[in-house]
Symmetry: C2
Subunit: 242 residues, 2 copies
């Protein structure tokens, strides 16, 4: 007996259930971060490592862009790259992330050199770029759906960090504000896309698995940070030391 095709609302409900279980809003490192229980050095380690994720998002989106079959779809996806790379006047997400690492007192050259990056961060982020190149376009688009959950985590993070750390302010956290409006716009498109294009139950299951994969790689980045900088707090050879 094969499972039957899910109605759109059921598919969406199952996608949301994956977020409830696996989104990194439930990770202990996130709780420590927004709860004000990290030192400045630990927040630096987070920002430094997360920079590589931010810096790789345009490569991920350009890889998907290269696979989309029509001008209309590509125009829609191209907006993501503009959001992250800017237009030459308004700064994009990558530049705004560097404002955060600047504000935390990290040397910009050191951050962008990736010299102090945790290998675990590198492998998880590279896995994302490889995933969108190697899997079906449907799975590649579906893996972006963690943005369904990002406004919540961003709100927690920004409010908690502003309240609890005297070394951050609204200016250094400027990365996050535009994401609160950009992410829902991205989600509306991607959710409509996967709902429309996943026609069989097998394809719907691929969509669900792609979201699980993406949640896992966000989670693994916080695992690596927690191991290196919280408990036991053993950064691997060559990695950033606060």
């Amino acid at each position: 007996m094969t499972d039957s095709v899910l109605a759109s609302a059921d598919l969406e409900q199952r996608l949301r259930a994956i977020g409830e279980e696996r989104y990194h809003i439930h990770h202990v490192f996130h709780h420590l971060l927004h709860g004000g229980r990290l030192s400045k050095g630990q927040v630096q380690a987070w920002a430094l490592n997360r920079y590589y994720y931010q810096a790789s998002i345009p490569a991920k989106d350009a890889t998907i862009l290269a696979r989309l079959p029509s001008p209309a779809l590509r125009r829609e996806w191209r907006r993501r790259i503009v959001d992250h790379d800017g237009d030459g006047t308004a700064p994009g997400g990558v530049e705004r992330w560097l404002a955060l690492t600047d504000g935390l007192g990290l040397d910009r050259g050191y951050v962008t050199s990736l010299e102090g990056l945790l290998p675990g961060t590198r492998y998880a982020v590279d896995a994302y770029v490889h995933f969108v190149r190697e899997r079906s376009l449907l799975e590649a688009v579906a893996s972006s759906l963690t943005e369904m959950f990002s406004p919540n985590i961003i709100s927690q993070r920004v409010a908690g960090m502003l309240r609890n750390y005297d070394f951050v302010d609204a200016r250094t956290l400027a990365y996050f504000t535009p994401r609160l409006t950009q992410a829902p716009q991205d989600v509306a498109f991607a959710l409509a896309y996967v709902t429309r294009e996943a026609r069989t139950r097998a394809e719907q299951d691929q969509v669900l698995a792609a979201l699980r994969f993406k949640c896992d790689l966000l989670w693994a980045q916080l695992d690596a940070l927690h191991h290196a900088y919280v408990s036991p707090g053993l950064p691997p050879p060559g990695a950033f030391r606060p």
Copy 2:
């Protein structure tokens, strides 16, 4: 001023120095493992995760095999695949690793399904296969040079595990014995290859960086295990729970 080309002995000395600093023989999880300070469940988690590394080695070697330019070089490298996949009568390394997971009481179907794998293991191992596909052939071959250090770690591991755990015996650890003779043979070839083919200092630096990369990915696998199963001992959603 450019650094000058290193003599072969100097290159080899620098390769060995990387092992001294970064090889996972220095990782806290390895010390716990061979020192008898892990529970059976923690040893199961190690064997389960390490299975994915073992199972991916033939894909890594076949990727290099596909890039080697002559029958003589390919015959040399093909031996590695025979060592891991067997010849249909004598079991190869992958099969011998499954004897270890069997001996530890893990269900073989569960192990090979990869269902309980840590995402961090998956990303690190996949990074290895991607590396040998995407980097120069010189770097791909150089990344195998961690085998320079493997007889030491294997000796420590086998002696320590036999002494300290009543749930392993010489039969379940049979994976390791042939590796003590196979690895030096592999190293002799790979070391001669990189010494011969790295003609400029820039190429020699690539060789050194490739070995660092490989050490880091072995280290990252133990980081992921330590985080999930030792301290704080928080396996990510979906991962194996002892």
